[in-house]
Symmetry: D2
Subunit: 324 residues, 4 copies
């Protein structure tokens, strides 16, 4: 067990609750936190509940439920497996939202559409069907369809406006009953890239994510329940530097029995080494697989399919298959 | 003079005040409306002022100032001419806005980025530099730059939310001192396509535009002054059908001296004929030149350059030339 | 029956063989041309065969088979209907190509990806899976999959190279057994827009299409069989001007019994009137419905699905449903 | 001096000749290789000449000239500095090509337009003006303009055809006098990202580049001179792992005087450690700065401007400034 977890070392919160849990649970049970695992044909679903202040303080994450769906099938083009992932994800969304049929929803695709590893949100938003204006013109269409609005406002570097500000003002105006956000996340390990979907009823937290949005998007700021769906598409470069150091010092300890190389490394030194490696870009470096565009394509298909079936009771899942 | 102007016949308001003026002024002076023309190296600038209720009722347009810049150079790739068009357009924007240096601006690109003839707004927005978030982090950057936010929310068919609603709520939140909208317009004549820029301090009116937005975006609804910049990029198909009928009946009258073909056509009949031609798409048909993508490219360069120099006193026009 | 069909008047060949046939067959049987119609749940399939020189000269189209699938469901978002359209289209492609399992195919998306009404080809190409490079690395993947290459070279205004030249040289190099081209067409009537798919084993002819490519792409120039799939997405503006004149003169004849307005119009006069209306853009004007982007999305889904199942015997149609 | 340079350790050729030279020249003069440096206002130009077999074998790069332009201004938005970079780059291109006015050029943008860090080539191609088709229609336009064709065929994963194959067949057909390729490169150090442009008259070599194209694109395969322009936009993840190990072992040696940690590490062990870190993606991982999209925008502006002025004698550099 690594005594200096990266997310403490670097001041970068880990986006996936499951990764934080894995690190912490090495030291035994985490007070105020529960974990439940279920397996299914194509993977594992983990439900972490941060129950009280002790849990919040240990996990560094607000009270609430974090459901993580892990499946290698997310990285493949196996459409049969995708169908079953869509069904499971759709059910999870329905359970977490628990919305009456008449409740309206605002969906927000967060991220920069011009950088593919940050484009999961905008690309998913692009595949959702907004019904709200339609209902104003043709109220008879409501049968089996929910009132949905969709927005993908782009990053604040381009708009000059924080996504949280845009959402707050929009919610104030169109009064949806709940907000669903889709965003690209950063993982603490390469093996999770594009293979994990996290759903959190706690919303989106400052400082996380690929593009480090600064203001929280949660029930408190938005005034409505917020469900955040995210997939890790990048790893901060610091993570792999850190891993390299762990593996190297492990190796050195093995070959030279007396050495205690890494154990003796103090956290400030580790941080200094990582910073020196990543210096030219102030650490704003991300690691992505080369075929990230293909993986994002799959994920957009699955997540947009799941949101669509979760929201509209009248959408025949058979028809959903045909969604672009 | 055509006694049944198209915009009356078809219930489609003409977007260009200048076109309405041309039709009406055939019948003599228009009460409550003034027109001033200036020529410059590359074209003509017309300033129409709708002064009172009589003017509003005659023109079918709200009180305010409509400046139209006409230049064939807008359709060419003559970058020297473009430089002078940018300078003139920039001065016009500055005069119409008359903003103190400390005033902040929200810019909105209206339209559908996926259909090139409706993409002028979003593409221009993409070229503007949003400084608002930057100033929050680095207030020292304010020197010579104005606080600007930029949004291009997409069409309501995709978002489920009217552009006017998004802007109202956003303005309520970020409190800009003024709003600039860029939008693609519909012309009443092919010869105006991509060769005319209209600036109106009256904002954007329901029912106009390529995508027929429904709610007005003006000082009253937005609570701040609104400057609308538009370029006609399409002609409603009904316009050319109407022109065909005029020319044909003119021809028939010539060849058969006794005939009074068109003069005898009653407006209801004209409308019926137009509707019959355009029936399969309920009249939602637009006419565009095949090379519309090249023309939009030029216009985006000119309009984004003019807005940028008009807003930021510290932007050296020499540097502006280098804007992408 | 109009004695001066538009495609003769304006020197613009009609892209759809079915439209030419409809005009000509008004005058009785067309020598050297056969027509067969079948109906199916969602529409009609017409097979026109141009059998000999008489047929070629009458139709203005080369000898060969032109299959036209007409269905209003192409314009809807009814995914169940789309599934059956994909199956029928896939069978038609298989029958027309009649390829052994080992034959390789080059697919070409023709058109300008930046103008949505001309983007059917490039967007469809984007959805096809190219297997050729894959087989070079992993020959074991060949099972159930055909060797396919895919190209969308863009328009000659952007590349400086005719699509026909690029294809000729590429075919010379990679030696496919056949070429499939997908292109946007121009219709002679608004009612056909996005509601008709034409398959022709004669390839693509100079002067047709949205962007008026100049060199033929056919078996003779390419050296391999060429199957052209096209959908009309625009109507030349001249077509609706012409229709307006027909309807207007019909009306005039009705109201004034003695008049023979249109019958007396000589073709040269008709052409002059059309030219005068469309003058500012030399007739390079196209008419499109405003929601053309949604319609193209549907068509790309259907055509890419049909080509994929037609080419790869091992693709389970169930899985195909899941293609993006 | 590091005795096990990364490019030997990992079997990944370094794309920048200058980086290879820096590593090797630590050991003294390199036989068969010359280096010349010039400084200019905004940076340094290095000209490396690989003169003979000894040079080829030492550098792992074919005989020829490699000019590298290094400037921090490439990463800024200083348009005045960009103007002088365009002028210098344009002169370098002209010198390296040394073309008569009548010589024709094929420009190729290499890479995947969907992944921004690999999109430098396609995005630059998009900004070049192809004159070849134009000259066929309007030969009088030749004055001051060169015959240019432009292609950006996409990656072989999408087309099924190697870029080298497409270029070979196209050159065979349209017979240009020379080929210019623009491609994204991989650097051996973060500090070079987006701050270095390499021009090589040796073309593009297998295995290099972001997307690891497999066949060489050089004078021998293409039959015409090939000028390759490249900018490093990514670093292979292995590079930063390697750097982390160097820095860590340096640190360990300092703190524990007796240790010889890294010096004792054998290359096979180093390779094993790197592989273990990057295992989940077989090493196909790249590191990019988060704001890569803004940097690519600048580079496309500079490189397309330089190529345009280098090729067309009649393009007034003043006008060039106005290029989009």
């Amino acid at each position: 067990m690594n005594p200096y977890p990266l997310y403490q070392l670097m001041g970068v919160p880990l986006d996936l609750a499951l990764e934080v849990h894995e690190i912490l649970s090495g030291e035994g049970e985490i007070p105020g936190v529960s974990l439940e695992k279920t397996t299914f044909e194509h993977g594992v679903i983990s439900t972490i509940r941060v129950l009280d202040e002790r849990g919040e303080s240990a996990m560094g994450k607000p009270r609430g439920t974090y459901v993580t769906l892990e499946s290698e099938a997310l990285r493949t083009v196996d459409r049969t497996a995708h169908a079953s992932l869509i069904a499971i994800l759709s059910d999870t969304i329905k359970n977490m939202l628990d919305l009456p049929d008449t409740a309206s929803v605002l969906c927000c695709g967060i991220g920069n559409p011009n950088v593919i590893s940050d484009a999961l949100g905008p690309m998913t938003a692009n595949r959702l069907t907004a019904t709200r204006s339609l209902f104003e013109i043709a109220p008879e269409m409501r049968e089996g369809l929910r009132e949905v609005s969709v927005i993908a406002p782009g990053v604040s570097g381009v708009t000059g406006i924080e996504t949280a500000e845009i959402l707050e003002s929009l919610i104030d105006r169109i009064k949806p009953d709940c907000l669903i956000c889709v965003d690209a996340l950063a993982a603490g390990s390469l093996s999770r890239l594009s293979a994990t979907i996290q759903l959190a009823d706690t919303g989106i937290f400052p400082g996380s994510g690929v593009g480090s949005r600064r203001k929280p998007i949660d029930r408190q700021t938005m005034g409505v329940p917020v469900l955040a769906l995210g997939v890790p598409t990048v790893v901060h470069a610091g993570v792999i530097v850190h891993q390299a150091m762990e593996i190297l010092t492990g190796h050195l300890e093995e070959v030279s029995s007396s050495s205690q190389a890494y154990r003796d490394l103090q956290p400030p030194n580790i941080k200094t080494i990582i910073d020196r490696v990543l210096e030219p870009f102030d650490g704003h470096l991300t690691v992505t697989p080369k075929d990230v565009d293909e993986q994002i394509g799959n994920l957009v298909h699955i997540i947009s399919g799941a949101i669509t079936t979760a929201l509209h009771s009248g959408v025949n899942p058979e028809h959903l298959k045909w969604l672009p």
